[in-house]
């Protein structure tokens, strides 16, 4: 290859990432079938969550064992399903977008643990200051959340290393 300055002049197009889709949907505007699938499935999940919220209000007004069970388990089931769909979408992305997603997850994890520890510490300090206020005694939850996140990451790391 000629090491001199190239004679062909090419415009430098700017990157133009789809900001709106990235912020609102969490997708990259690739227009692939995997992205369309994720958008459709997330709309379904959102619709069911809306129904769940309405049902939750109704079940609160009229206690019914069946609707109560649904309101307890539905959010977890929906979140699991959305995570499953999101994973499929992640695997369909190209290497740069996968790297961006991984960087985002790494920062979300690190900042999540940090925020939980800070919140736990602050709530603990407040609980010591006003020991009779029961609403401030939930500081343990923040620490448990941080420990749970770290434990999940540790377990995943263990299984991930088995692949290499």
């Amino acid at each position: 290859m000629n090491s001199q300055a190239p004679e062909i002049q090419v415009n430098k197009p700017i990157s133009r990432w789809p900001i709106c889709e990235m912020l609102l949907r969490g997708t990259y505007g690739t227009g692939t079938p995997a992205e369309s699938r994720l958008i459709l499935r997330s709309r379904i999940v959102f619709g069911v969550v809306l129904g769940w919220a309405i049902l939750g209000r109704e079940s609160h007004a009229h206690p019914n064992p069946v609707t109560r069970v649904i309101t307890v388990f539905l959010p977890a089931v929906l979140c699991s399903y959305y995570a499953f769909e999101k994973r499929k979408y992640f695997l369909s992305l190209d290497e740069l977008t996968q790297r961006i997603e991984l960087e985002g997850m790494a920062w979300a994890y690190s900042l999540g643990v940090l925020a939980a520890l800070w919140a736990g510490g602050i709530c603990y300090a407040l609980a010591l200051r006003w020991p009779l206020d029961a609403s401030l005694l939930s500081w343990r939850l923040f620490f448990l959340f941080a420990i749970a996140l770290a434990a999940i990451k540790g377990i995943y790391r263990y299984f991930a290393t088995r692949r290499y």
Partner: protein, 69 residues
Amino acid sequence: MKNELRVLRARHNLTQGELAEQLGVSRQTINAIETERYDPSLPLAFKIAHVFECRIEDVFFDSNGDQRG
């Protein structure tokens, strides 16, 4: 890592979108490689060299020691 991707693309009359489609990546990935903000994986680098029918070192070269042939 420096590269000649923009020049090669222009020589082959390809837009970023067309090249991205051939390689199975997003247009933003091609732009990031051209602007040297992202170094592609080895399989993608080989794919790029294959599209332009040249050696991988004709497309990518070390930014410190200019090793273009």
